[in-house]
Structure formats: structure tokens, C-alpha cells
């Protein structure tokens, strides 16, 4: 880790200005991923702009019934927040399925979205990785890739995004609010992360210097039955082999709303639009769920050693949909 400068920002504006003023700057939130990667030599900031104490640590209901979660809200506080738990169960469950109590106490909402892949080639600076060092190659594609992507990967990168929370946000139609030199904007959570394509070095749609200020959960999915399920190698404190977040509303036996997103299958939380479209207006039965999920996963292109992810993802999605269906009936 090279020596670096440190600036503590008192406001969002000050933070973005400090970032712009210091080439090689990085924002510091909870640090749980950034400090880890700095120790590995993967991240080499010249300056850290500390945004952990910005007044972005509030969870508040907006007049339209949506819920704004400040980017500095800690994962454990968000998971425990009654409005998150009661209105967006999948979000709370996803947060609690991730990491450990200690890490959730430190990790922030914004930082969670910006965490980097767990690909072992990305983490090892002595190996090629197009994400870490564009053009250097990909060690995982023909290497050890049991944990890697089955959907949306490219010749250049087969990494997955490790967040649990982001999967729930994608399914819940959340939006990510950003602030940068060009002012404030927001993007759908499901479109915030990118597919690798030719530029796996870019994880997200965030622009240089932009800061995540909050995440907004819409009124539309508030209170809808939702759930998160994660499969992993050990019972706790492990990244997902596959996960799914589901939001479901059933009206008169017919699916009226379906939000489905997969984790650990792709370079971003994978919003299963094809499956959702197939379900809408159709029966809420296990068969229908299975057909819809299969339709989505037909696009999967497993690597040599990760074909298991397809049936795994299918099973957990059908299971969660089926379990939610009775409660989802209105």
C-alpha cells in the first residue's frame, strides 16, 4: 500500500470537489472492501476522501411513500430498520445474508453497491485480470471459475458481482441517487451495474467523481411480499454461489407484479426480465414459475466448471416464488 493523502469531507459538495481536486482519489465509506483491496495492492488511491461522516446516514420516508436510504447508512442499521424490514423484507434478508455482524456494522449502503468482485485473479496482482489491468487477460475463463458468471459474461471477463443487497435492490425497483460535478441524477439499481463486455474495468455506470448519495426504494413495491434466498458453501459468512430476490403480487390467481433478480450469476445483479414478462398475467403456479425461470436461464452460458449454477438458480427462484405465492395473493 502506497502512502496516500486523507481528506474528510463535511458535505457532499465538498466531497466531490475534493475528489475532483485530487487525481487518483477514492471515496472512503465503511472501508470494508476498499481497505481490503488496498492491502492487496488492487486499489492504489493517492487520496482518500472520507465520506463516512457525511449527513447521509438517515433512512427517511418521502412524501410519495418511497423510502430514501442514505448512502452512509450502515448495512446492519438498514437491515434492522423497521421500514426496511416491514416494507421490503427481501432487502433486509439480503443484507443479513451477507458478510458478518462486524462487517455489516461497518459497511455502508453506498459502499456495498460499489464493492468489487471476489474473483481470485482480480484479487491477486501477480496474475492477469482485465478488470484490474485492462488488456492483461483473464485468468478465470480457463482457470478456476466454479464461482464465476454463467450469464452475460464476455471473452474479457467472467467475474460476478458479490453483493447480496444489490440483488434485492434490483428486484425491488430501487433507484441509486448520485451526485457529481454535473449535478444530481439517479439510475435504476438494476441498471447501475454493468455487464463486462469490452470494458470489465468499469463495474458500474457511475461517472468519475460521482458519489452515491442515497438509494430510494419506491412506494410501488413497498409492502409487497418479497424474499431473498442465498445458497452458499457454508451456513454463514460466505459469498453466494447463487442467490435470488423475488417481489411478487398475485391478484385473482394471476401474477400482477413480479420482480426477480439473481445474484452471483453475472457481472451485475441479474434482473430476470424475461421471466417476469412471462409470468405477468399468468397463473401463480409452480409450473408457471418453473417455465418462466427456465426461459430466463436459457440464456446461460456456463463455463467448464460452473454449470451447477443454472439448476441452482432455477431451484431457488422457483422455491421462493412458490413460497411467496400464497402471501402474495390479494
Amino acid at each position: 500500500m502506497k502512502p496516500f493523502g486523507y481528506v474528510r469531507a463535511a458535505s457532499v459538495e465538498e466531497a466531490t470537489e475534493a475528489f475532483a481536486a485530487h487525481p487518483g482519489a477514492r471515496y472512503l465509506g465503511g472501508g470494508t472492501n476498499l481497505v481490503d483491496l488496498m492491502k492487496l495492492g488492487v486499489e492504489r488511491p493517492a487520496v482518500l476522501v472520507d465520506v463516512s461522516r457525511l449527513p447521509l446516514d438517515v433512512v427517511e420516508e418521502l412524501p410519495d411513500g418511497s423510502l430514501r436510504v442514505g448512502a452512509a447508512v450502515r448495512n446492519s442499521d438498514l437491515a434492522a430498520h423497521p421500514m426496511a424490514r416491514d416494507r421490503y423484507p427481501a432487502l433486509s434478508q439480503a443484507l443479513l445474508a451477507g458478510a458478518s455482524g462486524q462487517l455489516r456494522n461497518a459497511a455502508t449502503t453506498g459502499g456495498n453497491l460499489l464493492q468489487r468482485t471476489r474473483c481470485p485473479y482480480f484479487q491477486d496482482v501477480s496474475k492477469p485480470c482485465n478488470k484490474r489491468e485492462p488488456g492483461s487477460g483473464c485468468g478465470a475463463r480457463d482457470g478456476v471459475h466454479r464461482d464465476h458468471a454463467v450469464l452475460g459474461h464476455s471473452e474479457r471477463c467472467v467475474a460476478t458481482h458479490p453483493s447480496d443487497m444489490a440483488v434485492a435492490l434490483a428486484a425491488l425497483d430501487a433507484r441509486v441517487e448520485l451526485y457529481g460535478e454535473q449535478g444530481a441524477r439517479s439510475v435504476p439499481a438494476a441498471a447501475f451495474h454493468r455487464l463486462p463486455g469490452q470494458h470489465p474495468e468499469r463495474d458500474t455506470e457511475i461517472r468519475p467523481g460521482e458519489l452515491i448519495t442515497s438509494v430510494v426504494l419506491p412506494a410501488a413495491t413497498a409492502g409487497l411480499p418479497s424474499a431473498y434466498r442465498k445458497a452458499r458453501d457454508r451456513a454463514s459468512y460466505a459469498f453466494a454461489l447463487a442467490s435470488v430476490a423475488v417481489v411478487l403480487r398475485v391478484s385473482d390467481g394471476v401474477v400482477a407484479h413480479a420482480g426477480i433478480a439473481f445474484g452471483a450469476l453475472a457481472h451485475r445483479p441479474w434482473r430476470a426480465q424475461r421471466a417476469e414478462e412471462a409470468l405477468l398475467g399468468g397463473p401463480a403456479t409452480p409450473d408457471a414459475f418453473a417455465r418462466a425461470v427456465d426461459l430466463e436461464l436459457a440464456a446461460a452460458e456456463p463455463l467448464r466448471d460452473n454449470g451447477y449454477k443454472v439448476p441452482l438458480a432455477r431451484n431457488i427462484a422457483v422455491d421462493v416464488l412458490t413460497r411467496l405465492a400464497p402471501a402474495a395473493a390479494t
Binding site: 500500500m1 492491502k39 496482482v125 485468468g139 482457470g143 458453501d233 457454508r234 454463514s236 459469498f239 451447477y308
Partner: protein, 697 residues
């Protein structure tokens, strides 16, 4: 005299417990000697080749950097007996992760930054790190770990075909010890005397080794291993940290700590080598084995032949008209494997006891009964009588406690919603090992006693149990005895390993204490101020050949739930019953049994490492990717033992207990998974990727 003769077996509280729960116990890297510097190693990034250039210019220019040691400038040491200690002596790179430089700096941050700034160039050569059962370079070594013969064959192959037969292959991946305290040493030279605080399972060997490497008499070396944060075999022999720390301290004239970053451990502290097993069993209609073949193929490194003796336990367990056990090893460009808790027995008994379960299924026989039917009268390989063997009692007692009789033997016969529930059993065995040790016992005028022995407490409770041994031998209450362990200035003693520590040290402590009792009896009048002491050396006794085959035995029972949605397997219940001689401390013994069973649970379900064919290193090199079991994986675990009396062991009548808990646990869990699902999984660990595929058929 109150409390005499009753200390052994009592659940005495750990003597260092208070220090450990208050943060006061200091480990090797925590001795902040004045002016102490920190070091950071630089691992090789090629799997085979040699270093052609090291450019430390940029590293040395960084603030706080004191030195960069390389093969060009590091102190020369005598060629070590253990090649893994020959660090920074020549440009050869025998495997990826081998240390090619060491940075010494004022702070951890400066050392880490400078290590990243050292530029190393290599002439890389083609490498081969991939083990296969038919690897063209695999050979039968002269002997395997533990000095066992590579091949043993008894009887003749039967010409008629058996009533039931099993011919299967099992695979155990590379496994990592990963003690919670990374390997670390703090070294300091003061007027020609070398003091090292080293995270080691045996300070006596560390001292001998350093004396040989640095060419100084042992009297000028002190090795302290006061508290050691686990080892599980990986600290059983000196590791490069202690050599590098001594070199760096010599070079800089400062005390230096070398504490290995966690990610570097898999390459330099040994690992359990992968083992590929072929097991063939034949049995008559009554279940009696007619033939038993266990063939093991494993790997070792280019610089050292270490052969995991995984076919050896078959020589102890079962009799058959024809038996063959053989090992083959391939030298590959891999890190050097070494001891990991129950080397040989842990992977070997996974394969053998899984195959026995398959045989029971073939025969339609209860797997407990099959084992009882095959109980030998003498040790099959040596023909020696057993000093004691209560495996059948362990199986029966375990079956009773586990409620085995209520088990529906049909596979896939029990479900709870999406969970398939199954139970399994496996036997365990571990040899009784013991080594000569010295010890000193001292009686003080105030009526207290001090026992001194360079034992190492790696978490077993050595201080406590040795006090118990002493109290009984001295016929005094436990609280009158103090123990001093963990320094090479104390009477020399063998390592804490091979489940032999307590037996070895305890024997010497016992003899010293009895001798002291005799001296005290002969002494008239008050004791002199310095007290009276007695010394013991068990050479010639502890290592004498025994006419008996001496082993501990045990039985493991497991219940698992297999999630048919995800393929996730979770243990619901684990129960072990052991016959391991006299249990010397019920409290710490239970912790050791339960702990080893937990590691067996990990071996079965969560732990596994992958040798990356392209890069030649272990992919799962940190604790986020190499999954040792977490709290949530471990339900209540029961450990029980029989009161076993064996007079052919040592004065305490004890067998080792540190390792047997892992032996057979993975088989019991795997057998339970078969019972739950009806599917045989023969490659560990049983992670969802494998299990889900198997469930789908």
C-alpha cells in the same frame, strides 16, 4: 493427604485461561522488544524456474525501509535437513509462493509497501502441478510419512468371486491447516545469543534447527513458544518465518518480527496433500472381508518427498484373506505438503470407511454390524496383539447414544419438507505415538512444587494436564504444583504433534516426580532454600519397541440434512465415542475431541483447495475462499469416551486424543449423505455444486 491421586481425569480449568480471556496471553508476534522492526516476505510469482534479477532500488528508497534480503545478500546458512528452510540461499524457485526476498522496515505499512516495490525477474520453466491417478511420473517411494513401508501385501488373491464387492475411487482435495494465529517469529540477537519467540509446536526442534543453520551452539539460542495459536501439524516443524526472522535480525541488528500474511500460508507452511484413492473390497455373504485393497496416489514437491500415508490405517483396521496397501507419489511443481491433523488416517479412513459403508449396502447389512463382524483379533499387518482395542464397544455405545437401532436403513427414506435426512457411521483409529522427553521436578521449602519441561501448549491445555500428572505422581493436591512450559531453557522435550505430546512429556514428568518423591523421603530436615529437584529422561523407555500394537479407536455417528433445492448439506448432529486409554482431563479432552470433529466436518462439507493448473498456486488462499467451518455450520457435537485401562502404554495409561476426532468424521458425514439421498458422492468436500448435480441424477 487430601486431593492426592485424584488429579488425573479431573476437569481442571486451564491454567492460562484467565490470560487468554483477558487478552493478556502473548503470542510470537506480540513481543514488542525495543526497536523491533517488521518484515514482509516477497513470494515468487512463477511456478518453476529461477530468479534472474532482484531490483530492490525502489523498495529501499521508500521511507522506513531498513533492508531487502535476497538470495544475493542474505546471511548464508548451513544447508538445512528440511529443504523448505533453505530460503534466500540460491535463485531456484521450486514452486509459486516460495519466498524470493524479505523486506525489513520500521513498520508493517512500510514493509508491505516495500515488498510490493521489489522487482523480481525470473527465467520461468514449464511446470506441472496437476495430479492424476495415472500420472506418468508417479512412483512408489521407499517409505511414507511415519516411516511406514510404502507397500504391504498379505495372503493371496482368491480365485473365486466374493459374495459382494466394492471397487471405487475417492478423492480428497488439498487441505490447509490454517491455525488462527499465522506463523510468526520474533528474533533478537544480543551479544551472540539468539532469542526467538516462535509460533511453533515444538521449540526444542526449532532450537536444534537454528543451531545447525546458523552454526552456533544450542546454548546460545533460546526459543520461546509460550502461547501458540494453533498449529494442527503446520507448526510441527520449523517454518521459514523463524529462519527469516533470525536472518533479518542478524542483518539489521534489530529485533525483527516475521508474521506471514494469511494468503502466503498455503504455499509455505505445508498442506494436506491431495489423495486419490482406489479401494477394492470383497466380502463373503456374512460380511467377512476376503480382500482389501487400498491404493493411494498423492503429490509432493520437487524439493522434498513427503508422502501422505493414507493407505496405512487399512493395515490396522480390518483382516482379509488378501490385502494390499500401496502408495504412489508424483513429484510436481507444487508447494511442499506436510502434516495436517491426523496425516494418513484422516484421508485414508475417509476412503476406507466410505467403502465399508458401500460394502454394507451391497450386502444389505447394517454398517455397524459389518464393522463388528470384521473386528480382527490381532493387528492385521503386524500380527501383534493389541494393547487394547475397544472399537466394538465404541460402535455399540455410540449406536446406543445415537439411537441407531431406530434408523430405517433404506436410503432416501426420511424427508422433512425439502430436506432429505440421513445418518451415517464410521470408525476411527489413530496410533499411539510417544517420544523420549526430559523433565525436571522441584520441591520448594514452602511445600509447593515446580515441574519444568519444554512442552508446548498449542491449545491442548498442556500446562494443566502436566500439573495433574505431577500432582498424582507427587501425591499432592493439584494447587501445590506449578508447571513451566514453552521455553527451550527448560528441559528439552518433543513436539506437540502426532497426539504424542501429553504422553511423552507426562511420562518424563511422572518419572521426575516419582524420583523426587524418593529423594524427599530420603531427605531429613527442612528443605534447602533452592529446594530439591529430580530430573528424568525417558530415552530408551518411551521409544522402546512394544510387543503390542497400540492404537486409539473411536466411532463417529452423523446426521445430516440435504437441501434438495440447493444441494446444501448441513450437519444436524455429530457424536463420537472414543477408547483412548485414560482420559487425563475430562474438560480439555472433550474440547479436543469436539474440535477435531469440527475440523472433520469441514473436511466433509466445506474445506477444499484447488491447485491452479496455469499458475501453480492454491486458488483458495484466504479465509474468505477457503471455508473453515463457521459457528453456523456446527451444531451441538457430543464427544464421549469409554473408561479404557491399558497397562502397555505409559505410566498414566493414556493414548493421544488430539487427532482421532477428525478421523472418520468425514466418512460418517458422507455416509449420512448417501443415506439421505441414495447417491454416493466420492469427492470431497460435499459442496452444493457437487451435491445438486448428484441429486439430479
Amino acid at each position: 493427604m487430601a486431593g492426592t491421586g485424584t488429579a488425573l481425569g479431573a476437569p481442571a480449568e486451564r491454567r492460562e485461561g484467565q490470560l487468554k480471556v483477558t487478552g493478556g496471553a502473548r503470542y510470537a508476534a506480540e513481543h514488542a522488544l525495543p526497536g523491533r522492526a517488521q518484515a514482509w516476505p516477497v513470494p515468487a510469482t512463477v511456478a518453476r524456474g529461477r530468479v534472474t534479477a532482484v531490483d530492490a532500488t525502489a523498495a529501499l528508497r521508500l521511507p522506513g525501509v531498513l533492508a531487502v534480503l535476497t538470495h544475493e545478500n542474505a546471511p548464508r546458512i548451513t544447508e538445512p535437513e528440511d529443504p523448505i528452510l533453505g530460503v534466500l540461499q540460491n535463485p531456484a524457485v521450486p514452486h509459486r509462493g516460495w519466498f524470493v526476498a524479505l523486506v525489513v522496515a520500521e513498520s508493517l505499512e512500510a514493509a508491505r509497501a516495500a515488498a510490493a516495490a521489489v522487482r523480481v525477474e525470473y527465467a520461468a520453466e514449464d511446470h506441472d502441478v496437476t495430479l492424476t491417478a495415472d500420472h506418468p511420473e508417479a512412483y512408489e517411494p521407499e517409505s511414507v510419512n511415519g516411516e511406514h513401508p510404502t507397500r504391504r501385501e498379505h495372503g493371496r488373491r482368491a480365485s473365486d468371486s466374493p459374495a459382494a464387492r466394492v471397487n471405487v475411487a475417492y478423492e480428497v482435495p488439498p487441505l490447509h491447516n490454517h491455525p488462527m494465529e499465522p506463523h510468526a517469529s520474533t528474533a533478537h540477537w544480543d551479544q551472540g545469543h539468539l532469542t526467538v519467540y516462535s509460533s511453533s509446536q515444538g521449540g526444542t526442534t526449532v532450537r536444534e534447527t537454528l543451531a545447525a543453520l546458523f552454526g552456533i551452539p544450542e546454548e546460545r539460542i533460546t526459543v520461546v513458544a509460550d502461547h501458540v495459536g494453533g498449529g494442527f501439524g503446520s507448526k510441527g516443524t520449523p517454518r521459514p518465518d523463524v529462519v527469516l526472522a533470525a536472518m533479518a535480525a542478524l542483518t539489521t541488528g534489530r529485533p525483527v518480527t516475521v508474521s506471514f500474511p494469511r494468503r502466503f500460508l498455503p504455499a509455505v507452511v505445508g498442506h494436506r496433500a491431495p489423495t486419490l484413492h482406489r479401494v477394492r473390497l470383497g466380502a463373503d455373504a456374512d460380511g467377512r472381508l476376503t480382500s482389501l485393497t487400498h491404493e493411494v496416489t498423492t503429490h509432493t514437491s520437487r524439493i522434498k518427498e513427503f508422502v501422505e500415508q493414507a493407505a496405512v490405517p487399512a493395515r490396522v483396521m480390518y483382516d482379509a484373506a488378501h490385502s494390499l496397501t500401496v502408495h504412489r507419489v508424483a513429484r510436481l511443481d507444487v508447494p511442499t505438503p506436510s502434516w495436517m491433523r491426523a496425516p494418513g488416517e484422516a484421508p485414508g479412513m475417509y476412503a476406507l470407511e466410505s467403502a465399508m459403508d458401500e460394502l454394507a449396502a451391497e450386502l444389505g447389512m447394517d454398517p455397524v454390524e459389518l464393522r463388528i463382524v470384521n473386528e480382527p483379533e490381532r493387528e492385521p499387518d503386524s500380527g501383534k496383539p493389541f494393547s487394547s482395542r475397544h472399537l466394538v464397544d465404541c460402535l455399540r455405545e455410540g449406536a446406543r447414544r445415537f439411537d441407531w437401532s431406530r434408523r430405517d436403513p433404506r436410503p432416501r427414506s426420511r424427508a422433512e419438507g425439502p430436506l432429505l435426512i440421513g445418518t451415517g457411521v464410521a470408525s476411527a483409529t489413530y496410533p499411539v505415538l510417544v517420544s523420549p522427553s526430559t523433565a525436571r521436578a522441584q520441591a520448594l521449602p514452602d511445600g509447593t512444587f515446580v515441574v519444568r519441561v519444554n512442552a508446548t501448549d498449542i491449545g491442548t491445555g498442556a500446562r494443566t494436564v502436566l500439573a495433574q500428572v505431577a500432582a498424582d505422581a507427587l501425591e499432592v493436591p493439584l494447587d501445590r504444583v506449578r508447571t513451566e512450559v514453552g521455553s527451550s531453557d527448560l528441559p528439552s522435550a518433543p513436539l506437540a504433534g502426532g497426539s504424542s505430546g501429553t504422553a511423552s512429556w507426562g511420562w518424563a514428568v511422572h518419572v521426575a516426580c516419582r524420583e523426587l518423591v524418593a529423594r524427599l523421603a530420603a531427605h531429613a530436615g527442612p528443605l534447602p532454600a533452592e529446594g530439591i529437584d529430580a530430573h528424568a529422561d525417558t530415552s530408551g523407555r518411551a521409544d522402546a519397541d512394544s510387543p503390542f500394537a497400540r492404537h486409539a479407536f473411536g466411532a463417529h455417528f452423523a446426521e445430516v440434512g440435504v437441501d434438495t433445492v440447493t444441494g446444501e448439506v448441513r450437519v444436524r448432529r455429530l457424536l463420537g465415542v472414543y477408547a483412548a486409554g485414560r482420559i487425563l482431563n475430562a474438560r480439555t479432552a472433550r474440547s479436543q475431541f469436539v474440535g477435531a470433529m469440527t475440523m472433520g466436518l469441514g473436511m466433509a462439507l466445506t474445506e477444499g483447495s484447488t491447485m491452479d493448473a496455469a499458475f501453480g498456486d492454491f486458488t483458495e488462499c484466504d479465509l474468505a475462499s477457503y471455508h473453515v467451518p463457521a459457528h453456523a455450520d456446527v451444531p451441538s457435537i457430543e464427544a464421549h469416551w469409554l473408561d479404557e485401562t491399558d497397562t502397555h502404554l505409559n505410566p498414566m495409561g493414556s493414548k493421544g486424543i488430539g487427532e482421532i476426532g477428525i478421523v472418520g468424521t468425514a466418512a460418517a458425514i458422507g455416509n449420512a449423505v448417501h443415506h439421505a439421498t441414495g447417491v454416493r458422492f466420492r469427492t470431497l468436500p460435499l459442496t452444493p455444486d457437487k451435491v445438486l448435480g448428484g441429486l439430479a441424477g
